[in-house]
């Protein structure tokens, strides 16, 4: 028991240190965002802002001024691109995952492995040819190009994840439904779909977060100011207002809030999305 206590204490100390490491940047981001520009540029730094202010947040979130309008525009674009690619991605992944789980058609393994392999390819490698292709398709500088890219890049993981869920739904349930009078499609829609809701949720939030945070494609495909998503918008904002660190921190904070909130509420699913498949019990 004594030995046990030793390890436990060690574990606690370790976790405490790790929490400090994890939280420090985020806490400092929030603290800075509450300072005035002048207060931010002090040495040594003000640990606790003497005159905390929400000015930067008003600036960013109020449609009454140019900066606010611009920022809200980015925010809206991000929501739209992430949501659209998530919904479309799930719609495409569901039937594919179902087929990989249930059917044994020739070439199934080959196709499935090539789907998985996509995870190995660096996004940047696809950037040039995709850029050329998008130009050719006339999609450069449209959000459609991003939606198409994100939905595709999310597919391998979505398919893999959903396949795991379908594998765990007994095929007898569908058979029972078909005997009870359902067509193949109805059996899928009425019986299998509701049971795979957790899988779909996991897939969806993972895709959403990935799309929300994606940077390099947005950077390359978009250049019209009105169409930028937040990550690129943030960078632009930084170049324009180079020394406004409180503003930048406030923008970073606002950008992080939706994904962190989504993540904290649906943590269980997100964790599942990350670990499923890699860990077999």
């Amino acid at each position: 028991m004594k030995e046990h206590g030793f390890w436990r204490l060690g574990g606690k100390l370790y976790l405490a240190a790790l929490v400090v490491f994890t939280m420090l940047p985020m806490v400092w981001m929030v603290i800075t965002s509450l300072k005035t520009q002048f207060a931010a540029l002090q040495y040594p730094p003000e640990w606790i802002p003497r005159n905390p202010t929400l000015d930067q947040y008003w600036l960013l979130l109020s449609p009454a001024n140019a900066v606010g309008r611009e920022f809200l525009r980015y925010l809206f674009n991000s929501v739209w691109v992430s949501a659209a690619s998530t919904v479309l991605g799930v719609a495409v992944a569901v039937p594919a995952a179902y087929a990989f789980s249930r059917f044994r058609f020739p070439g199934r393994n080959l196709l499935f492995y090539s789907v998985l392999l996509r995870n190995m390819f660096p996004a940047v490698v696809f950037l040039m040819p995709l850029f050329i292709m998008m130009r050719w398709l006339g999609l450069v500088n449209t959000q459609a190009s991003l939606i198409l890219t994100y939905l595709t890049f999310g597919l391998p993981l979505s398919i893999w994840l959903l396949k795991g869920f379908y594998d765990n739904i007994p095929v007898q349930l569908e058979q029972a439904a078909r005997i009870d009078g359902a067509s193949r499609f109805q059996a899928f829609l009425l019986i299998v779909m509701p049971l795979s809701a957790p899988g779909i949720t996991a897939t969806a939030i993972y895709s959403f977060i990935m799309a929300w945070n994606e940077y390099v494609y947005a950077l390359t495909f978009l250049n019209d100011k009105d169409r930028l998503t937040l990550p690129v918008g943030l960078q632009r904002f930084f170049t324009e207002y180079a020394t406004n660190w409180p503003g930048l921190m406030a923008a970073s904070f606002i950008m992080s809030v939706p994904v962190v909130a989504l993540f904290l509420v649906l943590q269980k699913y997100f964790v599942r999305a990350l670990t499923d498949g890699a860990v077999k019990s």
Binding site: E3, G10, G11, K12, Y14, L18, V19, F21, T22, L24, P25, M29, T32, L41, Q42, P44, P45, V92, P95, A99, S101, F103, R104, F105, P106, G107, N109, L111, F112, Y113, L116, L117, N119, M120, F121, P122, V124, V125, F126, P129, L130, I132, M133, L148, L151, T152, L155, W160, I209, N213, Y215, P231, W245, S252, M255, S256, F263, F270, A278, V279
Partner: protein, 305 residues
């Protein structure tokens, strides 16, 4: 009676309806992934004009490859990539595994703690990069201020503008962002270690350390493999953190393959050269990919249906 083993074509025809389910997914993947792979390989044999009028490209054979492999910048970037990938992976894994071990026990607030530790992984790399840039700021950075306050240095260090410190400084950011991934994977792995084995070991007189070495570790081999592979791949592919924080500088000290490729392609608009570079990266990835798919699909074939 029909032939025992039908021909491949026959089976494909019999299963034709099955392909409809995978067609949309495969369609977009061919378009967005398959075609670009082909195009990258193809372009890597050409010199492309800077205005991207691709009909004017000139066949260059293996010139691009030769140019890359002999360039000093390539060697420097390769070395940086190696340092970046190996150290990021190592520390992210060690930190994450440690956290997983400490969290692998029921206690109050465990879910909350896990949630907090995971936050760096879900927030945008762009936001993280700016936050860390601010933390590292040469004049007003909080890290500099802390190290002065604790007496480590006399004046704040200029982390991002110093060729020797820049790489470690970036790796810290990367580890900060990635250790949660290792943590969550290893935690999931730990939770599959059968309790009865641990109890049996305890009954047999094994201490915490012995049962960890003899029961837990062997059980984690598969997860560890997948986690390390995924970390390696992610790190080989990192772009955002180095690009936003230093842009590869100062003097190329934090230039890694990916940022270099981006710079070649979209800074200097040399698509042909950048494609050849990508193909090299590609080959490295395929090697890792082979192990990844193998590790991931073990046991999948046992299921029938």
């Amino acid at each position: 009676m029909t032939a025992r083993s039908d021909g491949l074509l026959r089976r494909i025809v019999r299963h034709r309806a099955d392909y409809l389910y995978v067609a949309p997914a495969l369609g977009v993947m061919l378009l967005v992934i398959g075609y670009p792979i082909y195009d990258t390989v193809y372009l890597s044999f050409f010199n492309t004009p800077p205005n991207l009028a691709l009909e004017d490209k000139i066949f260059a054979g293996l010139d691009n490859y030769g140019r890359i492999l002999s360039a000093d910048s390539f060697h420097e970037a390769t070395w940086n990539t190696l340092v970046w990938t190996v150290f990021s992976t190592f520390f992210a894994f060690v930190l994450g595994f440690g956290a997983a071990l400490a969290l692998n026990r029921e206690f109050r607030g465990r879910g909350l703690l896990r949630g907090i530790l995971l936050i760096p992984y879900v927030i945008s790399a762009v936001a993280a990069s700016y936050v860390w840039r601010w933390l590292y700021h040469s004049d007003f950075g909080v890290i500099g201020a802390i190290s002065v306050a604790l007496g480590f240095t006399d004046t704040p260090i200029n982390f991002l503008d110093n060729t020797t410190v820049v790489m470690p400084a970036l790796i810290v950011v990367n580890v900060w962002k990635e250790f949660p991934f290792a943590m969550i994977m290893m935690l999931a792995g730990l939770q599959t270690v059968p309790d009865h084995l641990l109890r049996a070991a305890r009954v047999d007189g094994a201490g915490t350390w012995e049962s960890f070495v003899h029961i837990t570790l062997p059980h984690l081999k598969g997860v560890t493999l997948v986690t390390v592979l995924l970390l390696l791949v992610t790190n080989l592919n990192s772009f955002t953190i180095p690009y936003i924080m230093t842009g590869g500088g100062p003097a190329g000290a934090s230039e890694i393959w990916i940022t270099h490729i981006y710079q070649l392609a979209f800074g200097r608009i040399r698509f042909g050269l950048a494609s050849a570079y990508s193909v090299i990266l590609f080959i490295v990835m395929m090697g890792l990919g082979y192990f990844y798919v193998r590790a991931l699909t073990q046991g999948d074939e046992r299921r029938g249906g």
